[in-house]
């Protein structure tokens, strides 16, 4: 068993950028082959982001980078033997999450959300804002879908929840494409991520 960060209260908040050497050592420990190591790094990074996001951490990417930085520094320091790097990463992530929660601002939950009590004029302004916002979102969505290949665009729209929500439809869809359900799911996750990021960027540019 590798050591776990919870056994190691000496981990402190890291500072500054990782050195090239620290980063390389982390990659080497993930996989001997550099390409595979980079893939593994990306996979772990991605999992970490979801791990933090799903626990309502306010800045998942920052906490992810903090986790990976700490792991890289620890490996580079070589003070103790870490046999299972991935398990160590998850341990550090839990540690970082605990710290992150302490400093996190309270999240405003919808149920705690302000009692809007809008008057007619306020509601009118709200309606205008919403209308403009949704028009803008729709324009951005169209632009972003337009950037996909025709196949991806058709596939993306066909996979929508109102079209093929149940697993059976999706399984059939995968079979027709000569893919496993799992492979199609990954493709759709990536595709959706791409379109969502595109729409987000588009909206930011127009703000």
């Amino acid at each position: 068993m590798g050591s776990k960060p919870s056994d190691n209260p000496s981990i402190t908040r890291s500072q500054g950028q990782l050195t090239q050497q620290q980063f390389q050592r982390l990659l080497q420990r993930l996989h001997a082959h550099s390409d595979r190591a980079a893939e593994k790094y990306e996979e772990i990074r991605w999992k970490l982001i979801k791990f933090f996001q799903w626990d309502s951490c306010s800045d998942a990417e920052e906490l992810t980078d903090e986790t990976l930085d700490r792991v890289a520094r620890k490996l580079d320091a070589g003070e103790e033997e870490i046999l299972n790097v991935e398990a160590f990463v998850w341990g550090v992530a839990k540690w970082v999450r605990q710290e992150g929660k302490k400093r996190d601002f309270r999240i405003v939950r919808l149920s705690d959300a302000p009692d809007y009590n809008l008057t007619d004029v306020g509601l009118a302004q709200e309606a205008i804002y919403r209308k403009l916002q949704s028009q803008q979102e729709m324009r951005c969505l169209k632009t972003c879908l337009g950037r996909l290949s025709a196949v991806d665009r058709d596939l993306f729209l066909a996979y929508r929840v109102d079209k093929a929500h149940d697993p059976e439809s999706r399984r059939r869809l995968a079979a027709k494409l000569g893919l496993t359900y799992g492979a199609l799911r990954i493709r759709m996750i990536r595709l959706r991520e791409k379109v969502e990021n595109c729409v987000r960027d588009c909206l930011r540019r127009k703000q």
Partner: protein, 304 residues
């Protein structure tokens, strides 16, 4: 593994925040180690957002999603996308096919468009969740979306007329803006709430009112209003434009003691109702017949 009903139930409970700490930790460990499970969770997360955006969930299940799942700011941001996707015309699919598409895929996709039309949709939050299978035809969905769009257009037209009136008055009465003197601003970067503290003026102050710069990203404006102590317990808070148009109000608001001589009321107002211009927040107490003004706070919102 992630696709059997029992696993789906577990995944849904995780996303809905219905797990105890210990179970949650075990489940987290599972998805960190099992990439397929992580993918299935991500898919379910998107499906939840889409179902919510489609507005097809029963009220109880809608509230269930709102309690935890949609409390997450990142998911709320993604929900905007889901709303846009839900409103995307059902029959608006791809444009011209690109020449390098595999024939098999093209053939299938053509077939799928026909196949998809009568397909009933949306199942699952379901299984034992009670979020139930959503059965709806695309036709029914399109009809409903069309009806919603028509309603939205009418509402927007009504709203636009009111807005033009408000804008005209606001432009006429907008004065020069001075520097903020009374407002203390606490904006947390990346968060959707911006907070201001305003101190009541006993008499209408001379000079420029404080300027409250509300970032475009803000969803909620928290106003902490400090005023001299009085014997009242319950208050009404009104937000009005300088022209006297009441934009927002909250009744039955309680105060806290700020210090020995003053009280504080904190209210949350949706950021989107603020447009560049001058505003007054009034605190009043008493019943409608005997309502008494307790304090007033004026401020201006500058152009971004």
């Amino acid at each position: 593994m992630a696709d059997d009903p029992k696993s789906k139930l577990t995944m849904a409970r995780f996303l809905l925040g219905e797990m105890q700490d210990e179970e949650r930790e075990t489940f987290e460990q599972a998805f960190l180690e099992d990439t397929d499970l992580l993918h299935a969770l991500m898919e379910m997360e998107s499906d939840f957002l889409d179902l919510y955006a489609l507005g097809k969930l029963p009220q109880s299940e809608k509230e269930r999603l709102e309690r935890f799942f949609l409390a997450d700011p990142h998911r709320r941001e993604r929900l905007s996308f889901a709303h846009a996707l839900a409103a995307y015309p059902a029959d608006e699919t791809a444009g011209a096919s690109t020449p390098n598409i595999e024939t098999q895929q093209k053939a299938w996709l053509r077939g799928f468009k026909f196949m998809a039309l009568p397909v009933a949709a949306a199942l699952f939050l379901a299984v034992s969740l009670g979020i139930a299978w959503l059965l709806m035809t695309n036709h029914a969905l399109r009809t409903e979306l069309e009806a919603l769009r028509r309603k939205q257009t009418i509402d927007s037209q009504r709203a636009a007329i009111l807005q033009r009136q408000v804008d005209t008055l606001t432009t006429e009465l907008r004065g020069t803006n001075g520097l903020a003197q009374q407002a203390k601003v606490e904006a947390a970067p990346g968060l959707s709430q911006v907070s201001f503290t305003l101190q009541a003026h006993a008499v209408r102050a001379s000079g420029a009112p404080p300027r409250l710069a509300i970032p475009a990203s803000a969803k909620v404006v928290e106003l902490s209003l400090i005023f001299s102590s009085d014997p009242f317990v319950h208050y009404h808070v009104f937000l009005e434009t300088a022209e006297g148009n009441r934009l927002w109000q909250r009744d039955d608001t309680k105060s806290n003691y700020f210090d020995r001589d003053s009280k504080k009321i904190t209210v949350h107002v949706p950021a989107r109702i603020f447009r560049p211009g001058d505003y007054i927040v009034r605190i009043a107490a008493g019943s409608q017949a005997t309502q008494e003004d307790i304090a007033a706070f004026s401020f201006s919102v500058p152009r971004p």
